[in-house]
């Protein structure tokens, strides 16, 4: 009997027969009542607390999906479309490489082109606050979108500025304050934030989002092993998603302009510009086309240098541009050098401002040796001559 209970799942015919006989004996001994069948082990249902953990895990995953991926963006658009509500959504491309698709407004670039001499209004304030004048000018341009009032930038403070100012013991001026007061306060605040965060990029980010969040993000970037934790590229991923969206245009726009202001010309500045930036009738096609850069007449073999520090995005060759290369200077600013005789760098190489990247030539579609030099902000070609000092 004991054996039959221990092994109720015995399969061999002999054992089954033995079990049946033993059951009959048991039944006879108990007055005809059938012997209780071996009880199956109690079936354990799924533990409820695991279901709660599942719900928590799924919530975290779906939250990230919604705020940080284009799939989430598509879902939000779909819901808005289905419910007929008109809500502003981010372009899908902004879920990708942050340095593109957000940044310098065309107004700011136009402002640089139209009134470069008047931009000096920020210089005294910058010097007083211990700031780079180019940084002060670029930030004021970005936050004013190039608009001026009585000779000063008409600065509009981003949402995080008030809290960050308060964190360093300052008060952000009201939007109705005079333009000169808003401009001066901006530079004082930036100086204090830079002293607190030890990096201009972190300081500018702290104008767009609250200071403690930037501090924390920089701290995490440092812990993760970033060589320059104060650089926006290093700590950006440690900002909350909404803060990234706030900070991206301010930081990238400002520092793209800073790099552009400080750039060097890729060939000797006395070389003649044979075809400027802008719309023109194409010499081969005979159609109006945007000339996205400037053509500079230079002899074969002239050194072509990087306009600023950066990383070579690619070195390539095609039928139109000949041997050409593109350098990424960060924050959405890139430079392209075309029609070279040879290229002197390889993909991924870090280059310093003024380093030789190519020897000029006449490769590709050309009518004579020249350098086609192109600058792009946010993927949009801009006239490099407006930044030429």
């Amino acid at each position: 009997m004991a054996d039959s209970k221990q092994d109720p799942r015995a399969k061999s015919p002999e054992l089954e027969e033995l079990h049946r006989l033993l059951a009959e004996v048991d039944a006879a001994a108990s007055g005809g009542r059938p012997a209780p069948s071996p009880r199956p082990p109690p079936r354990r249902g799924p533990r409820w607390w695991l279901g709660i953990l599942d719900l928590l895990a799924v919530s975290a995953a779906v939250y990230t999906l919604m705020v940080a991926t284009p799939v989430g963006g598509l879902v939000v658009r779909g819901v808005h479309w289905a419910t007929g509500r008109h809500v502003r959504t981010r372009p899908l491309i902004t879920y990708f490489k942050t340095e593109r698709g957000a940044g310098v407004s065309s107004h700011a670039v136009e402002a640089v082109a139209q009134a470069p001499a008047a931009d000096a209004s920020t210089t005294p304030g910058a010097k007083a606050a211990g700031l780079d004048p180019d940084l002060a000018r670029a930030l004021a341009l970005m936050l004013s979108a190039g608009n001026r009032s009585e000779g000063h930038f008409d600065v509009r403070y981003p949402p995080g500025a008030a809290a960050s100012f308060a964190a360093v013991g300052l008060v952000a001026p009201a939007a109705t304050a005079p333009a000169d007061a808003r401009e001066a306060a901006l530079l004082t605040g930036l100086g204090k934030l830079q002293a607190d965060l030890h990096h201009p990029e972190a300081a500018v980010a702290a104008l767009a989002v609250e200071l403690p969040r930037v501090r924390y993000a920089v701290h995490l970037a440092k812990a993760a092993g970033a060589a320059m934790p104060g650089e926006y590229a290093a700590f950006r991923e440690y900002l909350p998603p909404d803060d990234r969206a706030e900070a991206d245009p301010v930081v990238h726009g400002t520092f793209a302009l800073v790099t552009a202001f400080g750039m060097t010309w890729p060939v000797p500045t006395n070389a003649r510009i044979t075809s400027p930036f802008g719309w023109r009738v194409h010499p081969v096609l005979g159609k109006r086309k945007l000339h996205g850069g400037v053509d500079v007449a230079v002899p074969l073999g002239t050194d072509v240098v990087a306009i600023a520090d950066g990383e070579v995005l690619y070195v390539a060759q095609d039928g139109v541009n000949g041997r050409f290369l593109k350098v990424d200077h960060g924050h959405g600013l890139t430079s392209v050098y075309c029609h070279n005789d040879s290229t002197e760098v390889r993909r991924g190489q870090r280059v310093k401002k003024g380093a030789v990247v190519a020897k000029s030539g006449a490769s590709g579609r050309v009518t004579g040796p020249h350098l086609h030099f192109q600058m792009e902000l946010d993927g949009t070609p801009v006239d490099p001559e407006i930044f030429l000092k």
Binding site: P46, W48, W49, L50, G51, I52, L53, D54, L55, L56, A57, V58, A60, A61, V62, Y63, T64, L65, V67, A68, T69, P70, V71, I93, Y95, F96, K97, R100, P212, R213, Y216, A217, H219, L220, A221, K222, A223, A224, G225, Y238, L239, P240, P241, V284, L285, G286, G292, L313, Y314, A316, D318, G319, V320, N321, F324, K326, R347, R365, G379, P381
Partner: protein, 260 residues
């Protein structure tokens, strides 16, 4: 109270497929985020070759029919300028977005719908050795890499959002850093255990199910073996990039542990 807990738990179990989808989608996005630079290099190479060969062929064909040098110049230029530098930039970004969404369609969506089959690991291993299809090899690996990156990114996002939330509640601000660190680590463990591991086992189960179904449908050996090429071409590279470049495990862990 107990009934309420059980209801919540029931809901939790029902939404697990959504979690599996989310983990894969987040992981693939991390990979797609670094894909466009690689795509741009590939597009440049392809375009350069097409320019060279295409314009030579066009010029030869036009010369054969007696076209003037001017006309040849204009036509070949048109061909070479058809995909210019800016277009290639835009294409590379679109390609990254396309890869990500296609990756979701060929891996995350099937796993969302797949009902997990309990089959012993030994039997699964034997089936793989007996009938190695592309899907059986690549789907679990892609799922592993995507889940790995996805879990790390999810933990990081929750950590920084928790920190911001604790900072906003001023009385909790003093514990914002360690609190967010603890929450980040808990989320890492929780999502890794409840979703990350299931993503991999679901991918194994799904690929096995597909292989068995193909066998039942008596598809040719070649077709059966090649099943899963889309996962191999679209998802696998993105998933590998996600782990190697976008969410390197060691630095992410260091950031999570930093504030403990």
């Amino acid at each position: 109270m107990s009934v309420l807990f059980r209801l919540i738990a029931g809901l939790g179990r029902r939404v697990v497929p959504l979690g599996l989808f989310a983990v894969i989608a987040v992981g693939l996005h991390a990979g797609a985020d670094v894909l466009d630079d690689h795509a741009l290099v590939a597009l440049n190479i392809i375009d350069g070759q097409v320019d060279r060969l295409g314009s030579a062929l066009l010029a030869w064909a036009m010369a054969l029919v007696g076209a003037s040098p001017n006309m040849i110049e204009r036509w070949t230029f048109g061909l070479q300028e058809f995909v210019d530098m800016d277009t290639r930039d835009a294409l590379a970004r679109l390609l990254a977005l396309g890869f990500e969404l296609a990756g979701d369609v060929v891996l995350a969506v099937p796993l969302f719908w797949h009902r997990h089959r309990d089959r012993p690991w030994r039997a699964l291993g034997q089936a793989l050795l007996r009938d190695p299809t592309v899907l059986r090899v690549v789907a679990p690996l892609s799922a592993l890499f995507a889940a790995w990156a996805g879990v790390l990114v999810i933990a990081r996002e929750v950590q920084v959002v928790t920190h911001a939330g604790l900072e906003d509640a001023s009385w909790l601000a003093p514990i914002a850093s360690p609190g967010a660190g603890v929450v980040g680590l808990l989320v890492l463990a929780l999502v890794g255990w409840r979703l990350g591991a299931r993503v991999v086992s679901s991918a194994v189960s799904w690929s096995d199910h597909v292989a068995e179904r193909d066998l039942e449908r008596q598809l040719s050996t070649r077709r059966r073996r090649l099943r899963g090429w889309a996962v191999a071409l679209v998802v696998f590279p993105v998933a590998v990039l996600a782990v190697l470049e976008a969410a390197p495990p060691w630095s992410t862990l260091r950031a999570l542990l930093a504030v403990m």
